[in-house]
Symmetry: C2
Subunit: 200 residues, 2 copies
């Protein structure tokens, strides 16, 4: 009973901090529930803010989503200098990533759970191509790099959908066994050409 007042601010009047709290809460909610499933009231409550402030600081739920999710697509930090072991490292990453890290935010999951909404997909397409496919294609630097990068992203997304969203059993089992089969697939897309594909 430490609060006799009906409202405990928990945060003094600070527009910047409130805006940031809403943004963080939105990322978590979009990751867990998708664009349609996450409501502004729920997001605001998780941020300890009033629902009306969402519209005041972001204009609309659509604009909030646009700022929260598509800008978070980032493949660049994952591109190492050495190509050796890159495929396996990424395979192990998608199979073990814990959404509890980084405050429950996972851009890939937020994307996948929001693909049902046409406005959300429209907002994500540009970010996906510019921040994921294009940099990856540049990094591959081989013939058909654009197609290979797109297939790379498709494979990662597909695994995420089956494992984290649909909960398909075999992908939730032994990680090492799955890594052993996923790695060569990813590697074939990023490795220097001539080994697989490309020829007739």
């Amino acid at each position: 009973m430490k609060s006799s007042r009906s409202k405990r601010p928990a945060r003094k009047k600070d527009a910047g901090a409130t805006r940031e709290a809403i943004l963080v809460a939105a990322r978590e909610a979009f990751t867990r529930l998708g664009y349609d499933g996450a409501g502004v009231r729920e997001i605001a409550a998780a941020a300890g803010a009033n629902p009306a402030l969402v519209n005041r600081y972001f204009g609309s739920k659509e604009a909030l989503f646009e700022e929260a999710v598509p800008t978070a697509f980032e493949i660049a930090p994952l591109l190492p200098e050495a190509r050796q072991g890159f495929a396996e490292a990424l395979a192990r990453y998608v199979l073990t990533k814990d959404k509890a890290a980084l405050g429950g935010f996972d851009a890939t999951l937020a994307m996948l759970r929001s693909v049902g909404n046409p406005k959300a997909t429209e907002l994500m397409r540009e970010g996906l191509e510019e921040r994921f496919v294009a940099p990856l294609a540049d990094w591959i630097g081989e013939p058909d790099a654009d197609v290979r990068a797109a297939l790379f992203m498709a494979l990662l997304s597909g695994v995420a959908v089956m494992r984290d969203v649909m909960g398909v059993a075999p992908l939730r089992g032994d990680v090492e066994r799955t890594v052993r089969w996923l790695t060569p697939l990813l590697d074939a897309l990023v490795a220097p050409s001539g080994k697989t594909g490309g020829s007739t």
Copy 2:
């Protein structure tokens, strides 16, 4: 002005036909808009029926979805006797399939656009495992068949998401060029072991 009456039945009273019309309209709507995006009023209107009939014949929107989508997952018909050319045929299929066929119904697209809704994913998981992953694993009949089948489905779903839902550019371009890179990936998962993966 051939109809002076305010309502033209367009179909005489026939419970079975009405039920079937709703089912067909629901499949098309779920494919195009996903579980959340497709409304019962819209489905009923497309079927030329009254919205209340949806609940009368199916019980609820959830039950309608359960009967319309998860039962349509079917890999069995696509499993040929000969393994030769199977991967390439399936690769070409996912890259050229036209949703206009079969009345605009595509079970994979309906699934992907509905993954944002937890009730929908719950209803689809069983059908997906029993009607797609398990039969495919049996057909592969190799060590780690379950993981390989799951990755196979993940790859196909990922391509569908990136190409048909997100509209990623490289996957909408030259089909043959994409087939050339997608085929060996699928082939590695269904081909007799020893060629790729499984070792170490």
